[in-house]
């Protein structure tokens, strides 16, 4: 496989190395950590020659084709440039961090995060697929979050990191949207295709959306105005992190993005307006704010913002030369800013402070470091013979060569010069305030030169500043050319990298900037005074406050909607139901269908009247609970009669037996509940509820009527036709239950069993309210077990069992079955509990209801599994007729075994519920087993 694929993954592999090598020594750890990035850098450089020749390397393997994601890498000039920056500066930072971090800091973790970030950055710059690019883009956000919050115990670190993550994360999401639109527009997520489709994109109606979304991603990452505020607060990170992320890598990712998509998106008015104006604003604002920072890193951070603005401005101009200048400044800024951060870190490390009001006159204590810092600062200020000068000259030149603002185009060079002056001013401040300007004030430590190797990275970078500044063509020429060519996706314009271009306008602008900057610095006290008039606003506080605000508002809203009122929740469900059904039902023109209706008879009217009156009485008296229970029983009774009347004897039987068990259950529960319901609904609520209840009643009634009066073509004829021949029973309903749809029944008894288990759980830990008197304050009677009831119940038990056996056995052919039989048995046993009490039963009835449930479900399931032995599907039934002498013909059916399972489950479940509930008040109450 192409080595290109492995390039970014080599450092990823390296993420593990520091975690395991940190136990040896910090130096060893740093050494091992550096190995793979160094190797990667070596590999990258090995491509350099060909790339300088204009070649481009690409490699791809499919990954998730459905979303257009493939593992695709490209190494062209731009990628090469960034890879070298990422890996090169990364290696220096590894070395630097070895000395910067204290013994207490977990260096292994630090390196791991750093390498992870390096991997992500490499992924971004090497990506040849839009989705993959975004993939790594987000990884940079995450890994930078981890790095910024490395000292997470500090509030600023935590909050700063979170803010950085939020802002860049939001931008990342916008970027994703932008890239998806871009991909859709082009029809491919391949970067090369996109880059080659510039015209298509720019003429597409999606173009503005794409530009805005992609730029949102870029601007947030590169701290462009108005998203710049996160960067200074990210300075809570350890300085090596700043030196890496905020000079050469992370913040450059946004710049990289703009450069990467330059051929596809740039060179339109929209692009120019957004990008260059944003860049300009950022450039000036960053420089201005940098001037007022007392914190060394704050100054550098804002200067970074400013320089990023400068690059953005260049990229926005849309000319090829501006793009070249931008690429060049990317290189130069990375070099001097990294060295400056490192110098600041050394100062902080050795003096214990970064406050320029305390740091004075360090020249005396650390002259060597001071020299390095001063060179780098000078480069930042754009002093000749240093690299910063060259790209700034190009920048000034380009500001003069544009006419985008029409007659107002002169504003740009003027403002650029102003920005240059501010840069000179803050660079001067960095040099003068720190290294000169009297004696240090209250420093925690006496400053001295850092360890030898801590300086090495700075030395290298500052050396590069000088070398590039003096021999630009030799050192950076090819790199710049190939990077610029990749940026432009085509030939590069003519430009000269020489130091001296003669006396020209840009040189004048530089001169003005230097002089102006010095003047500004000189009069800084006035400016500080001027600035002091404005209220200080810490972006972090603002950010936190706004997050807090949103959180609070969200909380208020949630407390309002999710107010914990079940009545409201149910109302919401029902309200939705009313809206949905009514919107449909209005289209029903005729309620009655063509099916002839059954004539009405007196019996039906009576029953209906009884039903309605009792139902209404239940509602009206629902606050008198026992009365409501009695009227509810009447409703249940009438419902069973209705089933009986309309040819459903099985249903009638089931309804009757369930009814009794339910009533007993409700009575049992009523003992532990208040006897009465207070009147607490506001009349308005009552009217509201009455309205929705009547509406729903009306809807359901209407639908019910509409259905019943229409003919139906159903599959049921199959059941009546096959019940006897296929299922071996004449009671079709029962055959459906135990055979045709036995699976439903299996589920149903499982439900019953589970309900019983759940109820047992509920009861097992229940605290009790045991009223000593009824609702009217009358004490309970002392007759626990009325004698007549006790005696009669004993006699009824065998009879009831016989009846349930009868109901069970006939079920297959006549109304009945295991379920009803089970309920009858349960009621009979409950009757014994009522009549005799728990203790009496306990000594006489040794039934483990839990085992009944388990075996019931088990038997039903096994009866279904039996058919497997004969190669039939689960629950396939068999039945046969047998002849025994003297008895005659009789039938045996597997369905009966199934029904036995049903019977056992029903008895077990009902008894587990009722008996345990009853036992609550006794010494036999269920308690939690110790081991559970």
């Amino acid at each position: 496989m192409n080595t290109l694929i492995w390039l970014p993954f080599l450092p990823l592999l390296g993420t593990l190395i520091p975690l395991f090598s940190s136990r040896y020594s910090r130096t060893a750890c740093a050494f091992y950590t550096a190995a793979l990035p160094a190797l990667t850098l070596f590999l990258v450089l090995s491509y350099a020659g060909d790339i300088f020749q204009g070649e481009r390397f690409q490699a791809a393997i499919p990954w998730i084709p459905n979303i257009g994601l493939e593992l695709a890498f490209r190494l062209d000039g731009l990628a090469l440039l960034f890879s070298i920056l990422i890996l090169g500066i990364g290696l220096l930072v590894i070395l630097y961090a070895r000395y910067y971090l204290s013994e207490k800091d977990p260096i292994g973790k630090f390196y791991a995060f750093l390498i992870l970030f390096m991997f992500a950055m490499l992924g971004v710059v090497l990506s040849d697929n839009l989705i993959q690019l975004w993939f790594f883009w987000e990884l940079t956000s995450i890994s930078s979050f981890l790095l910024i919050s490395f000292w997470g115990h500090k509030t600023e670190a935590r909050k700063g990191a979170r803010m950085a993550l939020t802002v860049t994360g939001a931008g990342g999401l916008a970027l994703l949207a932008g890239l998806l639109v871009l991909g859709n527009t082009v029809g491919s997520y391949s970067l090369q295709v996109v880059l080659d489709s510039g015209d298509l994109i720019k003429s597409s109606s999606n173009y503005p959306v794409i530009v805005v979304l992609v730029l949102l991603g870029a601007f947030t990452k590169s701290a462009q105005f108005p998203f710049h505020f996160w960067l200074p607060n990210a300075m809570a990170a350890p300085t090596p992190v700043s030196a890496y992320l905020h000079s050469a890598t992370m913040v450059k990712a946004g710049i990289f993005l703009m450069a990467r998509f330059y051929p596809a998106l740039a060179d339109t008015n929209l692009w120019f307006l957004i990008v260059s104006l944003t860049g300009l604003a950022t450039f000036l604002m960053g420089a201005y704010i940098a001037l007022f920072q007392h914190d060394l890193k704050g100054l550098l951070a804002n200067s970074t913002i400013s320089h990023l603005g400068l690059i953005t401005l260049l990229l926005g101009m849309g000319t090829d030369l501006a793009a070249v200048a931008a690429v060049f400044h990317i290189i130069n800024h990375a070099i001097f800013k990294a060295s400056l951060f490192m110098a600041a870190g050394i100062i902080d490390h050795e003096s214990g402070s970064r406050d320029m009001r305390q740091l004075n006159g360090l020249w005396k204590y650390m002259p060597y470091t001071a020299t390095l810092a001063m060179v780098a600062s000078a480069s930042m200020a754009g002093v000749p013979l240093l690299n910063g000068f060259l790209s700034k000259e190009m920048f000034f030149t380009e500001t003069l060569h544009q006419a985008s603002l029409g007659s107002l185009s002169w504003i740009i060079p003027v403002l650029a010069t102003l920005g240059g002056a501010l840069a000179v001013a803050y660079s001067t401040r960095f040099i003068h305030d720190v290294f000169f300007n009297g004696e240090p004030i209250n420093l925690p430590k006496t400053p001295h030169e850092p360890p030898r190797y801590m300086r090495v990275p700075v030395e290298i970078l500052v050396g590069l500043c000088l070398l590039v500044g003096i021999f630009p063509g030799f050192l950076a020429g090819d790199l710049l050319a190939s990077a610029a060519s990749a940026t432009l996706n085509g030939p590069i314009p003519e430009y000269s990298l020489s130091i001296w271009h003669g006396f020209n306008l840009p040189l004048l602008m530089s001169a003005i900037a230097v002089v102006g900057g010095l003047i500004v610095y000189k009069n800084r006290s006035h400016m500080f005074k001027f600035q002091a008039q404005f209220p200080k606003s810490n972006p972090l506080m603002v950010f936190e406050a706004s997050v807090q605000f949103v959180t609070r508002q969200a909380g208020t809203l949630i407390r309002f909607t999710e107010n914990g009122s079940l009545q409201r929740y149910i109302f919401a469900v029902l309200g939705l139901m009313v809206i949905m059904t009514i919107s449909t039902l209005v289209k029903l023109n005729t309620t009655a269908g063509l099916r002839p209706e059954i004539p009405v008879d007196a019996m039906t009217i009576t029953a209906a009247f009884l039903l309605c009156v009792s139902a209404l009485a239940t509602v009206i008296w629902h606050r008198k609970r026992v009365v409501a229970l009695i009227t509810l029983s009447v409703v249940g009774l009438i419902v069973s009669l209705a089933f009986a009347q309309f040819s459903a004897p099985d249903l009638a039987l089931t309804q009757l037996s369930v009814e009794v068990v339910t009533v007993i259950l409700l009575i049992l529960a009523l003992f532990f509940l208040p006897q009465k319901t207070p009147k607490e609904s506001h009349p308005r609520i009552v009217i509201r509820d009455l309205s929705i209840a009547s509406l729903i009643g009306g809807i359901i009634g209407t639908i019910c009527y509409a259905i019943m009066t229409r003919p139906l073509d159903t599959i049921s004829t199959f059941f009546t036709a096959n019940s006897k021949t296929g299922g071996g029973g004449t009671n079709v309903v029962n055959v459906i239950l135990v055979d045709f749809r036995g699976f439903d029944t299996l589920g149903e008894i499982t439900v019953l069993g589970i309900a019983a288990l759940g109820i047992y759980k509920l009861i097992a830990r229940m605290r009790l309210f045991m009223p000593s008197s009824d609702g009217k304050g009358r004490p309970w009677s002392d007759d626990k077990h009325p004698i007549l009831l006790s005696v009669i119940s004993q006699s009824l038990l065998p009879l009831a069992l016989l009846v349930s056996a009868y109901i069970f056995l006939r079920g297959h052919n006549l109304p009945g079955g295991g379920f009803i039989a089970g309920l009858i048995t349960s009621v009979a046993i409950i009757q014994q509990y009522i009549a005799h009490g728990v203790i009496w039963i306990k000594t006489r009835l040794k039934l483990d209801y839990q085992i009944l449930i388990g075996s019931g479900i088990g038997i039903a399931t096994l009866s279904g599994l039996g058919s497997w032995a004969f190669g039939h599907a689960f629950l396939s039934s068999w039945f046969d007729y047998f002849y025994l002498p003297a008895i005659g013909k009789f039938e045996l059916a597997s369905a009966m075994i199934f029904d036995l399972g049903v019977y056992l489950t029903v008895v077990g479940a009902t008894m587990l519920i009722l008996a345990n509930l009853g036992q609550l008040t006794t010494s036999e109450r269920p308690v939690l087993k110790e081991d559970e």
Partner: protein
């Protein structure tokens, strides 16, 4: 003749049910209501049997039997509740 008788008898039982309902709603005591419910069970049995006769079907017998068996249990449980609160003790 049987048809007319059945209609007539059904009407009578229906009236009886109305009377039970009246007592059930009227009360005045809970005992009255339970008594009314208990009587209703009996009238319901009659109604079911009558329906069985009128439709010449023996399928309704079990329903009647169950009402007889289970109605008693529910009456007993309600009474026990009024007496003791706790019906299983």
């Amino acid at each position: 003749m049987l048809d007319i008788t059945i209609t007539f008898v059904a009407a009578i039982i229906c009236i009886a049910l109305f009377l039970n309902l009246w007592r059930l709603l009227q009360g005045p005591t809970l005992s009255d209501r339970i008594l009314a419910l208990d009587t209703m069970y009996i009238n319901a049995i009659a109604l079911i049997l009558l329906y069985g006769i009128s439709s010449s079907s023996a399928l309704y017998f079990e329903a009647a039997l169950l009402i007889a068996m289970l109605g008693f249990v529910s009456t007993a449980a309600l009474c026990k509740y009024l007496l003791r609160g706790d019906i299983i003790e």
